[in-house]
Symmetry: C2
């Protein structure tokens, strides 16, 4: 079963649901956004390549990234920690030092959660954000003519992970992208200041192409992007070169960059700082079978669900 | 490390916290209550003794039980499900059928969550309740002279688990107590209708004595209860008798009954239905080293942290 099939089963079973398929759920009667993300040892991280401190930071960061995509202000988190009995003595202390540092940086309060036993470390964080504007973000709001923008670099995190997994020398910058990602809350707030309509935003937690495809599916519009316009780090190019790897594979399919992918009309694009938001393409036509067109020089590739399921990292594989 | 030591480490590390040590955290600026509980396969449940449907129900029920203890109205939940690749084909479908049924019964909406891979099934649910009264519940509110009340039967759930684990014949009622617990939301709402002050309420998820001790610790008052006044099911007595077990062990130390433990002044006690709320003791003196006094006929036992750590089920052992 892949992610799309599982979500379909869930949606069919739930009569009481309001799964929007966005990074956060919007609770309209409370003007709140809520999200929950889980990290599982040996699926999302390995204690051989990270520390309890960085894990604490990242567990919170990935949820704050969802809050950033919802254009709300993060307020509270709860943390559920499942631990094997053989974790290192100072694991809890170091983990919560990381949690405390990142929560202090973004003025977020830890209000609860639980701790329990398990075979592997499992961390589930729930984050709550407060609505901060008259406008909403949802994947479904992408419309014809929108500029497709992105923050930061793509591919750095998965290159960092590749290096760690294969014991390769790699620059600190790529390691940090993987082990200590920055939630794009400042960029989210810049975006918010320029809004005059609802827009499509999501984070690239599952990869750039995955994010673009999910926006296209949800908005029923195809999207065309130029892979050569996607901002990448020099360190990624260098790392790929010396290891004979194709850096575009990291850029397109690698996940966990936690950058924002944004679709906005021209007037909003013109108000934004081009050093922070890079235009990589446009939303094209409304489509019954929406897809992502990927330009690379003179070539153009069509990406749909099958491509994605084959290419993306599948946690259920 | 035991639960008390771990919580102390967390509280020392978090400068940004407001861990109240209650079943739910109260977000005063939003008038909301939030709670998160995680169930781990082979720690909290075994797929040899339950079904995906019942697991879906119970995962929600244990969180709604925390909401009941906070005297708020449950509104929304998010569910994070981690699944091994070898779960049965219809697991997701059956699990969400259970989730949907219990959410429909209590008018709760499922608004989000995620699904990911893992070695064992891990379910983490976050629930949000809306404040419904001018009065709050917290363990710390227990005061001298309060009546200690409880709903339902105690010991049934752990006897059900004991029977399942040891392949013993057992009545359906004890099995249901363990596999399909009922969150005491109706009882919570009855209680709310009688309030004229803040009171102490918690659920007995980790056992009756554990709950009483946590209230005594948090309120800095000792509590005296009569074990023979605790309501127990005839089925529990019968089951214990034919298997040469002491039923009081289940009543005192068995967990997962999800009954409410309530400390209220006399005037509130007198307004409550005695068929639903049973008085089992009283809050006695303020104490620097608060403890639970357990009366059993002419004997009286003093229970403190050491007794509890030795006796209670320790997930970290």
């Amino acid at each position: 079963m892949n992610e799309f099939e599982i979500l379909e089963i869930i949606n069919n079973k739930l009569s009481c649901n309001s799964y929007l398929g966005d990074d956060c759920a919007f609770l309209s009667d409370l003007d709140l956004f809520i999200t929950q993300d889980t990290l599982v040892e040996d699926v999302h991280f390995s204690m051989y390549t990270t520390s309890a401190y960085l894990l604490g930071r990242k567990s919170v960061a990935v949820n704050l990234s969802d809050i950033a995509a919802s254009l709300s202000i993060p307020k509270y988190i709860t943390i559920s920690l499942s631990l094997p009995s053989n974790v290192k003595n100072n694991f809890v202390e170091e983990f919560y030092r990381g949690v405390n540092d990142i929560c202090t940086e973004y003025d977020v309060k830890v209000v609860g959660g639980d701790i329990t036993g398990s075979d592997k470390i499992v961390i589930s964080v729930c984050a709550i954000g407060k609505k901060n504007s008259n406008f909403l973000s949802s994947r479904k709001f992408a419309k014809k003519g929108d500029y497709v923008l992105t923050t930061g670099f793509h591919g750095s995190s998965s290159a960092g992970l590749y290096a760690l997994s294969n014991f390769l020398y790699v620059d600190e910058e790529l390691l940090a992208a993987h082990l200590n990602p920055v939630p794009r809350l400042r960029e989210s707030s810049m975006l918010l200041n320029c809004l005059d309509c609802n827009i499509a935003v999501m984070d690239s937690s599952d990869g750039l192409i995955d994010a673009l495809y999910k926006i296209s599916l949800s908005s029923k519009h195809s999207i065309e992007v130029d892979i050569n316009k996607v901002p990448v780090s020099d360190k990624l190019i260098h790392f790929s070169k010396i290891n004979s790897l194709n850096y575009k594979e990291f850029v397109m399919w690698g996940g966990e960059d936690y950058e924002l992918i944004v679709c906005v009309p021209e007037n909003i694009y013109l108000k934004l700082d081009n050093n922070i938001f890079t235009c990589i393409g446009k939303v094209v036509n409304k489509d019954i079978f929406p897809c992502v067109y990927l330009k690379d020089g003179n070539s153009k590739f069509k990406i749909n669900a099958d491509t994605l399921i084959n290419k993306s990292y599948n946690h259920f594989a």
